[in-house]
């Protein structure tokens, strides 16, 4: 169990630290590579939760697909690779106060609430269960998600298309 805890903290620290770097890096490429660490660490957290399928999906889709696409996009548009991004904020002090307030409240909630914690179950095969659920209980969200994707596809094609 101690290994489990150690691994959890390793992944958690990795995820948060790289996420900070994504936000604060001045170079887009650096941000994109740091995002790789974040997504990977989150996949590790999924493994610790016995959600092996989601972990693999996370790596395949986010790390393998979206992130690579993003880096390609950045590299192909050569101009933005060299530009320093302004990560400044206009209302720095109110923003700091506001976000610290929210963080304190959320941490307070985290420790005072009696969460509904399910007992740990034996590691089972998840793929077949996910498959069954997607065609029964979650059939409708699954189908509607495809409509959302269709709309997003039409929208992005609409914007990207060359105008006559």
């Amino acid at each position: 169990m101690i290994y489990y805890t150690i691994l959890f903290y390793v992944f958690a620290v990795l995820a948060v630290a790289t996420a900070f770097y994504v936000v604060f890096a001045k170079n887009v490429i650096h941000s994109a590579f740091a995002l790789f660490g974040t997504l990977f660490a989150v996949a590790g957290l999924f493994v610790l939760l016995n959600a092996d399928f989601i972990a693999i999906t996370q790596i395949m889709v986010y790390v393998g697909g979206i992130l690579v696409l993003m880096i390609f996009g950045v590299m192909l548009t050569t101009k933005i690779a060299d530009i320093d991004i302004h990560t400044k904020n206009l209302n720095r002090i109110p923003a700091i106060l506001f976000s610290t307030g929210i963080t304190v409240i959320l941490i307070f909630i985290l420790f005072t609430t009696k969460w509904n914690i399910k007992p740990q179950v034996q590691n089972q095969e998840t793929v077949s269960q996910i498959g069954k659920l997607m065609l029964t209980t979650y059939l409708l969200p699954f189908e509607i998600a495809s409509i959302v994707l269709l709309v997003a596809l039409v929208g992005s094609a609409m914007y990207a298309r060359k105008t006559k």
Binding site: T112, T136, L140, V151, V154, G155
Partner: protein, 495 residues
């Protein structure tokens, strides 16, 4: 398997919409130029879907494993969305902005996808489905807001909308995850029964309510989640603005009202009709604050606006505040009042936006200064606009008065007289800026260089007339909409 097939039978209207989207998409690919054919197909699909929705009246059923329900409440909203989409597609045929854009007919099936998302928002009882439906509506509206690719304002509108939207739905889904972590369920009826056992004194629930309101409140553009509204309304093409003001915000109300009235209801009182809120949960008080703030900020800021679209944006923020007053009452009567108000809201807003399309088609501007003496140039349109403006401010003998009358009387009957007073005071303020438009149109003389008469095609006048008639007729003969609202104010699982 069997349940899926039974569910599909109750899901025909949405299936028809999906088929319509696909057929329109293919037709657009075949036609490859601007054409009314795609719009006609879209409207036909909406009519078929509407016909099936009417057939669902009186059904009370939970379908797709407790994801969505069919009940009079959702049927009412579906009809509202379908009717307004039909009008908006007609408007987009008339709009010069859409005609001049570089796209062909994408707006038709994007609008129908938005209607599909809105229908699901009105009927979902599962947080996952609510979020997904909300995202369908949001993503479609981002695309539509930036429809005029060559206009800087339109791109700015889309960009602002995306950023605000992403932030607020992120906050909302975080709150949903907290609620799931506390109760272990995503179905709002199950959450209600679990919360009824555990009691509602947990401070987490307050945070959850506020954060979920960030998501829903953004859709209904309630203060303090309203900052996107004026900019997006100003940048987007007018038919899209009208669509956002009517369908998208009504859908926000649909999901907001169902979520708050069911989730935080004592589950033991669901079937005996007394409908008490779980002890310790005080969502109505949060709604009161938002509602009063929306009314005051919406109405007072609208006074200074010289852009007609920004004026209508603040007006819709304020109207959202009035509708939330009905939610504060939190009983059958309040819901009926909301429904009456929503019908009125749809008719008068559609009318105002259509009149604005007619005006800005000819003037190429939505600045109120440019509308000086418009009544001398196109009297029929100016009179039409006048009627819609009076209706929006709630003058008697228009449909807007009926809506406000029912809202305020629901408030007074549940002893919230001071809220009714705040609402009435705000109506007086709103009268000022609605009339301001008319002052420019009727009392100022047009400038020398553009004082020529403006003519429209016969179809334009007919559509305007179709919208003026219910605005006036339902203001005097409002029995039918009240009866319809009373019949519809029934939610699944509640008596």
């Amino acid at each position: 398997m069997e349940q899926t097939i039974i569910s599909l039978k109750n899901f025909i209207p949405e299936c028809v919409l999906i088929v319509t989207i696909l057929v329109c998409l293919l037709a657009d690919l075949i036609v490859r130029k601007k054409s009314a054919v795609v719009a006609v197909i879209g409207i036909a699909g909406l009519f078929v879907s509407g016909w099936f929705v009417i057939g669902q009246f009186g059904v009370k059923e939970s379908v797709f494993f407790g994801m969505v329900v069919i009940d009079p409440y959702s049927v009412f909203f579906k009809l509202l969305f379908i009717v307004s989409t039909v009008f908006i597609i007609l408007f987009s045929l008339a709009s010069k902005e859409i005609k001049d854009s570089t796209h062909t007919n994408e707006h038709v099936y994007l609008m129908i996808s938005l209607t599909l998302g809105a229908n699901l928002m009105a009927s979902s009882v599962n947080m996952l489905m609510m979020y997904l439906a909300l995202e369908t509506v949001s993503i479609t509206s981002y695309v539509l807001a930036g429809y005029m690719k060559k206009s800087k304002r339109s791109s700015e509108a889309a960009m602002k909308y995306v950023i605000y939207g992403a932030a607020s739905s992120g906050i909302m889904i975080y709150a949903m995850s907290l609620l799931y972590g506390y109760t272990g369920s995503m179905n709002i009826f199950e959450i209600s029964s679990i919360l009824s056992k555990m009691g509602g004194t947990n401070p987490m629930l307050v945070i959850v309510m506020v954060m979920i309101l960030a998501g829903f409140g953004y859709k209904i553009s309630s203060v303090p989640f309203h900052f996107w509204t004026p900019d997006v309304y100003e940048g987007a093409p007018i038919p899209v603005t009208g669509f956002l003001a009517v369908t998208s915000s009504a859908a926000g109300f649909a999901v907001l009202i169902r979520f708050f009235s069911v989730t935080f209801l004592k589950s033991t009182t669901m079937l005996n009709g007394s409908l008490q809120i779980i002890d310790g949960i005080r969502w109505t008080e949060i709604i009161i604050v938002l509602s009063v703030a929306s009314m005051i900020i919406g109405n007072f800021v609208a006074v200074w606006q010289m852009s007609f679209k920004r004026l209508l944006a603040y007006s819709s923020i304020a109207q959202g505040g009035y509708i939330m007053l009905g939610l504060v009452v939190a009983n059958q009567q309040g819901l009926t009042a909301i429904f009456v108000y929503l019908v009125a809201y749809m008719i008068m807003n559609l009318g105002a936006f259509y009149a604005l399309i007619m005006i800005s088609n000819k003037l190429n501007s939505d600045d109120i200064n440019d509308m000086k003496g418009f009544a001398y140039r196109a009297p029929a349109v100016a009179v039409g606009m006048g009627i819609f403006m009076f209706a929006l401010s709630g003058i008697p003998a228009t449909v807007g008065f009926v809506g406000k009358f029912y809202l305020f009387s629901a408030l007074i009957e549940s002893n919230m007289i001071w809220l009714a007073l705040v609402g009435m005071m705000n109506s007086v303020v709103s009268l000022f800026f609605y009339i301001k438009v008319l002052k420019y149109m009727f009392l100022s003389k047009p400038d020398e260089e553009n004082s020529g008469k403006i003519y429209y095609g016969i179809a334009g006048y007919v559509l305007l007339f179709i919208l003026v008639i219910p605005t006036l007729l339902l203001g005097i003969y409002f029995g039918p909409i009240v009866r319809f609202a009373e019949m519809s104010a029934v939610m699944f699982g509640l008596k």
